[in-house]
C-alpha cells in the first residue's frame, strides 16, 4: 500500500473544519437575550444527547467525505503479487507438428505451456497458437484463463511440417496490430528442419521477446524412416518388369549403421520383405518387384519392421491403381502422318505411359464419342465435323481435356476449336531465317514439370521453332514462350475441362521438338496431366492441396464432390461439397475423393519426411534467435513473470466512488435536518 501523490495528504488538515463545526463550535454558543427566563426550563439530558448523536452522524459523514477526497487525490495503490497486469501480450505457441509425436515431446510441451498459462498475470492478455503444417490461431488476445486453457488443451499433434519462418511472419503481422510488448513462448522440439534457409524470415519485431521452451530431451536420438517410395500410380500390367516395381529409400538420422527389415504391404498383406544395410546416418535403397496388385485402387505401404523411438514415420503409404491401358484419341489432318508417329512413339516410350494411341483423321470423327478416351489430341486440325465439334465441346465442359497443336495447316484468322478465339497471325520463322528457340518455360506447370531443369532450360532451349501461330493469350495461362515472347504453350479452362494449346506442331516440320529427348518427357507429363491419373492415385504430402473442381463458381448443374478422410469421416459440409475448389490433405492416411467430373481417386498421404530428422537447432542458433534476453537458457514458468509480480494497482477510482456515496449520504442527512428546521419556524 502506498501513495502515488503523497503530497496531497496535506489536505487532511481540512478535516479540522468539520471537527471545529461539529465538536468545538457547538460549545461556544452565543448567548441569546430574552426578556425573562420565568417560563423557560433547562433541556433534558436525553433529548440533547439524541440531537448530538444525529449531528455526530453528520459529522462522521462529512469527515469521511473529506478524508476520501484527499485520499483519492493522493492516489493510493496496492501491489498485487498475482492477478495484476504487466501490460504484455502473452503469445503461447505450441508446436504440434509431426515430429512432436516422438516420445513424450508433445505431452511435455503442452504441460509446460499450461504451467506458463497458469503463472500468467490475471490482467495480461494471452493468445494461443498451434504450429503445425499451418499456424492455427486458436484464440484472440484475451484474458479469460478458462478459455485459454481450453484452447490449449484442445491442441492435438498433427502430421504437418512446422516452419519457424511462418511463425516469424505471423508474429510480425501480429505486432502491427498489437502495440503492447509481446512475450512469445514457443514450446517446440526446435527441429533444425523447421528453420528456414533465410534467417531473416524468423527475425521477430522489436516489441516481441522470444522465450524458447525446448522439449527435445535427447538431441542424438536415432531415427530411421522410409524416406521416399517410387511406385507407379497406374499399373496396367503387373508383369511388366519395367514398371511393376517399387523402390523405397530408407534413411537414418543420427543413426549407427544397421540392418533394417523392410516390408511391402498391399491392402494389408505383406507381399515381400527385404533386409537392407543402412549406413550410419545414411540412406539405402530397397526394391520390390514385381508389384502384384489387383484391379482397382490398391492401398500399399513400405514399412520398417524394426520399431524405433519414433514409430510414426516408419511407414510410407501410396496407392497403385491397376487398370487397362487408356485410349488416347489423336485427330490429325488428312495428310499428316508425322505427328502421329512422333507423338505415338513418345507416348509409348514414356516410362509410365499407360495409354494406347488411337489415331484418326479429322474427317473420320463424325461418330466418335470423346468421352471414351482419356484425353483428345487435335493435331493441325482446325476443322472437324460439326457433330464431333459439338460432342467435343460437351466432353470438355464435363471435365475432358484436349491438346491442340497448330501445325503448318493453320492459316491466319482461322477459328481455333474450343479456344473461343482465332489465329491472329502466323510467324514463319524458317522462311524468314529467324529461327526461334524456347525462351521461357514454367517448370511448375504439370506438363512441363522437372525437378532440376539445368542450364539448358531442361533441354527446352535447344529446341528450334520454325513456325508458330500467334493467338490471344487472354484468360489463358502461358506455360512456355519463345525467345521473341510468342506464347508457345497455353492452357485455358473451359467448363470442368482443360484445353492445352501448342502454337506449333507435333511433327518435325514446324519445330524440331520431336527430335529432342525432352519431347518424350513432355508427352509423358502431358498425358498424365490431361488424363488425370496423377490426381487419382499415388501419394502426396500432408498439407498439399487437391483440386476438386475447375471453377470456384460452377455453372449449370452443380456436381458435388466427396471427400472421405483416413478416419472415414466426411470433412466437407454439404455447402462446401457444392462449392469447394480445393481440399487440403491435413492428415496422413488414405483419402477417398470423388471429383466434380465424376472420377474417383484414392490418395495416400504421408507426412513430410523432414519431420523425421529430429536433430534440434544448434544452441548458438537458438541463442541468436531468442536474443540475449533469454540467454538461451530454458526458463522456468514461474521465473517468466518475475518482472511483473508486484505491479502497483491504483485505487483512486474506488476511493472516489466511496466519496461519492458519502457525499450523497451527507446531502440526504443534511437536507433532512434543514427540513426539520423549516417546520420549526
Amino acid at each position: 500500500m502506498g501513495f502515488l501523490a503523497p503530497w496531497f495528504l496535506a489536505g487532511l488538515a481540512a478535516l479540522g473544519v468539520p471537527v471545529f463545526v461539529h465538536l468545538l463550535r457547538r460549545h461556544v454558543t452565543t448567548p441569546r437575550p430574552v426578556s425573562s427566563l420565568m417560563f423557560f426550563e433547562r433541556g433534558t439530558q436525553s433529548s440533547t444527547r439524541h440531537r448530538r448523536l444525529r449531528y455526530l452522524l453528520l459529522f462522521a459523514l462529512r469527515t469521511a467525505l473529506l478524508f476520501l477526497v484527499v485520499l483519492a487525490f493522493a492516489d493510493p495503490f496496492v501491489r498485487r503479487s498475482t492477478g495484476g497486469s504487466s501490460g504484455h501480450t502473452q503469445l503461447i505457441v505450441l508446436d504440434n507438428s509431426f515430429s512432436m509425436r516422438s516420445g513424450t515431446r508433445f505431452v511435455d510441451a503442452k504441460r509446460q505451456a499450461l504451467d506458463v498459462l497458469a503463472a500468467k498475470p490475471r490482467g495480461d492478455k494471452a493468445q494461443i497458437m498451434a504450429l503445425g503444417g499451418q499456424l492455427e490461431i486458436l484464440t484472440q488476445p484475451i484474458t479469460d484463463d478458462a478459455q485459454l486453457r481450453s484452447a490449449l488443451e484442445s491442441v492435438q499433434p498433427s502430421d504437418g511440417h512446422a516452419s519457424f519462418g511462418e511463425l516469424g511472419r505471423a508474429v510480425r503481422s501480429l505486432a502491427e496490430t498489437v502495440h503492447s510488448p509481446i512475450d512469445l513462448h514457443l514450446f517446440s522440439d526446435m527441429q533444425r528442419t523447421a528453420m528456414p534457409a533465410n534467417f531473416a524470415d524468423v527475425v521477430l519485431p522489436n516489441n516481441a521477446r522470444l522465450q524458447l521452451r525446448s522439449v527435445a530431451q535427447d538431441s542424438t536420438q536415432p531415427n530411421w524412416t522410409v524416406e521416399s517410395v517410387e511406385a507407379p500410380a497406374e499399373l496396367p500390367d503387373p508383369k511388366d518388369s519395367r514398371r511393376s516395381h517399387v523402390r523405397a529409400v530408407v534413411a537414418g538420422f543420427g543413426t549407427p549403421a544397421a540392418v533394417k527389415t523392410v516390408s511391402l504391404v498391399v491392402n494389408g498383406k505383406t507381399l515381400a520383405t527385404r533386409k537392407v544395410n543402412v549406413p550410419a546416418g545414411g540412406r539405402a535403397t530397397v526394391d520390390f518387384a514385381p508389384l502384384d496388385v489387383g484391379y482397382g485402387f490398391n492401398r500399399c505401404a513400405v514399412k520398417l519392421d524394426d520399431s524405433d523411438n519414433f514409430p510414426a514415420d516408419d511407414a510410407s503409404i501410396f496407392v497403385v491403381r491397376r487398370s487397362d491401358p487408356e485410349r488416347v484419341l489423336f485427330v490429325h489432318a488428312a495428310g499428316d502422318t508425322r505427328s502421329t508417329t512422333y507423338f505415338g512413339a513418345a507416348l509409348g516410350a514414356a516410362a509410365q505411359g499407360s495409354f494406347v494411341l488411337q489415331s484418326i483423321s479429322a474427317e473420320q470423327t463424325a461418330d466418335i464419342d470423346p468421352s471414351r478416351f482419356a484425353f483428345v489430341v487435335l493435331s493441325d486440325t482446325m476443322t472437324t465435323p460439326s457433330i464431333f465439334e459439338h460432342t467435343l465441346a460437351q466432353y470438355v465442359a464435363k471435365g475432358g481435356n484436349v491438346l491442340i497443336a497448330l501445325g503448318p495447316g493453320t492459316t491466319r484468322h482461322t477459328p481455333i476449336p474450343l479456344w473461343t478465339g482465332d489465329v491472329q497471325d502466323i510467324h514463319n520463322y524458317g522462311r524468314l531465317g529467324n529461327v526461334q528457340r524456347i525462351g521461357q518455360v514454367n517448370f511448375s506447370y504439370p506438363a512441363l514439370g522437372q525437378a532440376q531443369p539445368g542450364r539448358n532450360n531442361g533441354g527446352w532451349s535447344d529446341v528450334k521453332v520454325f513456325y508458330a501461330a500467334v493467338v490471344d493469350p487472354a484468360r489463358a495461362r502461358v506455360a512456355a514462350r519463345l525467345t521473341d515472347g510468342t506464347p508457345l504453350l497455353l492452357e485455358k479452362q473451359v467448363g470442368e475441362g482443360r484445353v492445352l494449346l501448342l502454337t506449333s506442331g507435333l511433327e518435325n516440320l514446324t519445330n524440331d521438338l520431336p527430335l529432342h529427348p525432352v519431347f518424350v518427357a513432355f508427352v509423358d507429363h502431358t498425358a498424365r496431366y490431361l488424363s488425370g491419373s496423377e490426381r487419382v492415385s499415388g501419394s502426396r504430402l500432408v498439407d498439399s492441396f487437391v483440386e476438386l473442381r475447375s471453377k470456384a463458381k460452377p455453372t449449370g448443374v452443380v456436381a458435388n464432390v466427396e471427400v472421405i478422410d483416413p478416419d472415414g469421416q466426411r470433412p466437407l459440409s454439404l455447402s462446401e461439397a457444392r462449392t469447394a475448389q480445393t481440399f487440403r490433405l491435413s492428415r496422413a492416411g488414405f483419402y477417398q475423393i470423388r471429383f466434380a467430373n465424376g472420377r474417383d481417386a484414392v490418395i495416400g498421404v504421408n507426412p513430410d519426411r523432414r519431420e523425421s530428422d529430429l536433430a534440434p537447432l544448434p544452441s548458438d542458433v537458438q541463442q541468436l534467435w531468442s536474443g540475449s534476453s533469454s540467454g538461451g537458457e530454458p526458463q522456468t514458468s514461474a521465473a517468466a513473470f518475475d518482472g511483473v509480480k508486484n505491479q502497483p494497482v491504483s485505487l483512486w477510482w474506488y476511493v472516489m466512488l466511496l466519496a461519492l456515496v458519502a457525499a450523497f449520504a451527507e446531502t440526504a442527512l443534511a437536507s433532512s435536518y434543514m427540513g426539520t428546521q423549516r417546520e420549526e419556524t
Binding site: 441569546r32 430574552v34 423557560f40 426550563e41 420549526e680
Partner: protein, 295 residues
C-alpha cells in the same frame, strides 16, 4: 390609512410628536363622526363665584351686564385625567425586530397623550418606573404638557428590573383625582402579584387598563437548536432546547396571559395584549371606549 399605524413604519419616525400626530390623526380620520364629540366645547352651567375660584373662569361679559360674578363652566372641564404608568425595566428592550417593546410602549404612550390632550382636552401624566419611580410628570392640561410628556418618554430608558409595588404606592399617593390609569408593561411577574399591586388603583374610582406588551418571539419563540438564553433583567443564563419552546413554553406563556387577563378583569380592570407587530389602533380604540364609558 392603516399603514400609518403600522409599528414598523412608526419605528422610522424619530419625532414622538410627529409620530403621535400621525397615529392619532390617522386614527381619528378613520372613525365615524360621533355626536358625543365636541362636548368639551359646550357650555354646561354658571356657578356663583366663591373666593378661591380661578379668576380666569369668570364670565366677564356677564359681570359687565349684571355686575354679578359668575363662573362659566364647560362640560369639558370635567374631563378625565390620564396617567400612563410606563414600565422601563430591562426586559422592555427585548426585540426580535423593530420596534422593540420599549419603543412600542413609547409610541403607544405618545399616541395616548396626543389623543388625550390635543383631541380630548384631558389632563395627562406619566410615571416611568422599573423597580423604582424613575420619572413622574403630573397630569395637567397646561400649555406645554404634551411636550413635557414626550420628553419624559424620550428619556425613559430601560433600566433594572420590574417591581410594581413601589411605583404603584407612589402613584396612589400622588393621585388625587380619579381618572384613567394605563399600565404599560410586559408583566413578567406572577399575575396574582401584578393584580394585587394594581388593584388598589381601582378602589379609588380609577379606570385601570393593562396594556400587555409582548414581542412575537416571546409568544412563539423559534429556536433552531439548543441555545443559551440570558435574562435581560437578572443576567441569569439557561440552556434550553427547541423541543421545550415548541411545547411547554407555549403552554406556559398562554397560561400566563390567560391568568393575567382573567384576574385583571376579575379585579375590574381592562386587559389588552399588544404584540409589537400589531397596529396601535387597538390600544387607542380601547382607550376611547373606556373614555366614553363614563369618564
Amino acid at each position: 390609512m392603516q399603514r400609518f399605524l403600522d409599528p414598523v413604519v412608526l419605528a422610522g419616525i424619530s419625532s414622538l410628536d410627529l409620530l403621535a400626530k400621525t397615529v392619532v390623526d390617522g386614527f381619528v380620520a378613520g372613525l365615524h363622526r360621533s355626536p358625543d364629540f365636541g362636548f368639551s366645547q359646550e357650555f354646561a352651567e354658571y356657578r356663583a363665584y366663591t373666593p378661591g375660584d380661578d379668576l380666569r373662569h369668570v364670565d366677564w361679559n356677564l359681570f359687565a351686564r349684571t355686575e354679578r360674578c359668575y363662573l362659566k363652566r364647560y362640560r369639558g372641564e370635567n374631563n378625565s385625567q390620564l396617567t400612563v404608568l410606563l414600565d422601563a425595566s430591562n426586559s422592555m428592550q427585548y426585540t426580535s425586530g423593530p420596534p422593540n417593546k420599549m419603543d412600542y410602549a413609547r409610541f403607544l404612550s405618545a399616541s395616548m397623550f396626543y389623543l388625550a390632550i390635543h383631541n380630548q382636552r384631558d389632563a395627562a401624566g406619566l410615571i416611568v418606573f422599573d423597580d423604582e419611580v424613575r420619572d413622574y410628570i403630573r397630569p395637567s392640561t397646561r400649555q406645554g404638557q404634551l411636550a413635557r410628556l414626550f420628553a419624559g418618554l424620550e428619556h425613559a430608558t430601560p433600566h433594572a428590573r420590574t417591581d410594581f409595588a413601589k411605583p404603584l404606592q407612589h402613584f396612589q399617593n400622588a393621585l388625587h383625582r380619579r381618572g384613567i390609569a394605563i399600565v404599560v408593561s410586559d408583566f413578567y411577574e406572577n399575575p396574582e402579584t401584578i393584580v394585587n399591586n394594581i388593584a388598589p388603583l381601582r378602589f379609588r374610582g380609577n379606570e385601570v387598563i393593562l396594556f400587555h406588551i409582548l414581542d412575537p418571539q416571546e409568544i412563539r419563540p423559534a429556536l433552531r437548536g439548543s441555545a443559551l438564553l440570558v435574562d435581560l433583567e437578572t443576567d441569569q443564563k439557561l440552556e434550553v432546547i427547541p423541543e421545550y419552546t415548541r411545547t411547554s413554553y407555549r403552554n406556559k406563556i398562554d397560561t400566563h396571559i390567560e391568568q393575567l387577563r382573567s384576574r385583571a378583569r376579575g379585579a375590574g380592570m381592562d386587559y389588552q395584549l399588544l404584540v409589537t407587530d400589531q397596529p396601535l389602533d387597538l390600544a387607542l380604540r380601547e382607550y376611547l371606549t373606556l373614555r366614553q364609558a363614563g369618564n
